[in-house]
Amino acid sequence: MAERSESEEVKLLGMWASPFSRRIEIALTLKGVSYEFSEEDITNKSSLLLQLNPVYKMIPVLVHNGKPISESLVILEYIDETWRDNPILPQDPYEKAMARFWAKFVDEQIYVTAMKVVGKIGEERDAVVEATRDLLMFLEKELVGKDFFGGRSLGFVDIVATLVAFWLMRTEEIVGVKVVPVDKFPEIHRWVKNLLGNDVIKKCIPPEDEHLQYIRARMEKLNVKSA
C-alpha cells in the first residue's frame, strides 16, 4: 500500500449520476486513494468548476495537490500513472493501444449513438436501437473467453464500459426498449454479473433505485414517454 504524505490532497468534482464521474471514483477506490468528493450541480455550475475546467466547464475534474485534470479518459490514465497499485492499463504498448481504442469506442460510438434513443419513438427509435446493437456486438465479441475486458481482472475498458452496464442497461427499464437483450448479448450479460461480483464496482456505482428515479425524472423532463 503506497504511503500517503499529509500534503497529498485529492479532490474530485463530480456528479453522482454521471458515468464519467463514477468511473473516476471506481479507479480511485480500486487504487485505495482517499479523496474528497464535491458534488456539482450541473444546472448551476460552481465558480470552482468553471475555474478548474475553463475549456469544457464539465465534470469530472480531478484536483491533485491543487492541480486540475479534466476529461475522464485523461484522468484515468493520470490516476494509473500516479498510483501504481492495481494497474488499470496493460503494460504492453499494443495491449494499451487496444484498451484506448475500446474506451474511445464506448464513449464516442456507443454512448453517442445510444443517447439518440432518448426522445425518439416508432421507426426512428428502432433504427437507433439497431445501430446501438450493431456497435454493442463488437463489445460482445471482445468478451468471448474473458471474465472482463481486462482479462481475468477489471481494467481500463471495464471501468469505462460501466457506462453500458449501469447506464445504458438501466435506461432500458425506463425507456421500455430492451436494447441489450440477453439472448443477443449473453457475453455482455455475463460480464455485468462479473462486475457486480466486484466490491469496488458495487461500492462505486449509483444505487439502483435512486438512479432509476433520477433517469425517470430526467426523461419526463425531456417529455419522453416511458414504458
Binding site: V55, H64, K67, I69, S70, E71, L73, V74, I75, E77, Y78, E81, T82, P93, Y94, K96, A97, R100, F101, K104, F105, F138
Partner: protein, 217 residues
C-alpha cells in the same frame, strides 16, 4: 529479417500525417501504403474492420488504429529516442488533454471551412478561430506545446498546418492575423525533418479541397 512496419494512409489526411511524423521522429523506417477510398484494400478492411479508416499502423503483424493511438503507440514501442511526453504524470495528462482538444474542437470546425459553404462554413470558421485562440493561449511563449521539445500535442496539431492555406482560401480569412504565435510555431515545426517530410505541399492540398468542393457543393 524483421518486416518493416506498414502504414496504411491517405496522402491529404492530417490524421495519417500524424502517424508519419511520429514514425520519423523516432527514426523508424516504415512502408507507406496509399489507400484508395473508393476501393479499400483487404488489409485495411481486415486491420480496421470496425471503422475501416486510416491511419492504421501494422507492426509485428498487429494493427493499431486511430491516429492518436498510433502516435502514443509509436512513442511506447520505440521509447529510446525523442520521447513525445514529459516524464511527470501531470505533464502527460496535460498533453493528452490538449491533443484530445485538437480532436474535439479543431477537426469538425476545420472541415466545415473547406468542406462546406454558407452558414455551416461561417459557423465552422467561428469555431475554428475560437479553438485557435485557445490553443495560442496554451502555447504561450513556449517554442513548442511540449515546452522546449517537440512533443505529442505538437504532432497532433502540426499536420493541420498543411491545410492552413486551404482554410484561408476557402474561408476567406487570415489565420496569421487571428493567431500570429500559432503561425510562428508552425514555421518552427516545419523546420524539423520529420515534419516537412511528412506533410504534403499546401498547394496540393488546396487543389484537393477545390476538387472536393467542386464535386460536393
Amino acid at each position: 529479417m524483421a518486416n518493416l512496419p506498414i502504414l496504411l494512409d491517405y496522402w491529404p489526411s492530417m490524421f495519417g500525417m500524424r502517424a508519419r511524423v511520429a514514425l520519423r521522429e523516432k527514426g523508424v523506417e516504415f512502408e507507406y501504403r496509399e489507400e484508395d477510398f473508393s476501393n479499400k484494400s483487404d488489409l485495411l478492411l481486415q486491420s480496421n474492420h470496425i471503422h475501416k479508416k486510416i491511419p492504421v499502423l501494422i507492426h509485428n503483424g498487429k494493427p493499431v488504429c486511430e491516429s492518436l493511438n498510433v502516435v502514443q503507440y509509436v512513442d511506447e514501442a520505440w521509447p529510446e529516442k525523442n520521447p513525445f511526453f514529459p516524464s511527470d504524470p501531470y505533464g502527460r495528462a496535460q498533453a493528452r488533454f490538449w491533443a484530445d482538444f485538437v480532436d474535439k474542437k479543431f477537426t469538425d470546425a476545420q472541415f466545415k471551412i473547406w468542406g462546406k459553404n454558407g452558414e455551416e462554413q461561417e459557423a465552422g470558421k467561428k469555431e475554428f478561430i475560437e479553438a485557435v485562440k485557445i490553443l495560442e493561449t496554451e502555447l504561450g511563449d513556449k517554442p513548442y506545446f511540449g515546452g522546449d521539445s517537440f512533443g505529442y500535442v505538437d504532432i497532433s496539431l502540426i499536420t493541420f498546418s498543411s491545410w492552413f492555406q486551404a482554410y484561408e482560401k476557402f474561408g476567406n480569412f487570415s489565420i496569421e492575423s487571428e493567431s500570429p504565435k500559432l503561425i510562428a510555431w508552425a514555421k518552427r515545426c516545419m523546420e524539423k525533418e520529420s515534419v516537412f517530410k511528412s506533410l504534403p505541399d499546401s498547394e496540393k492540398i488546396v487543389a484537393y479541397a477545390a476538387e472536393y468542393r467542386k464535386n460536393n457543393l
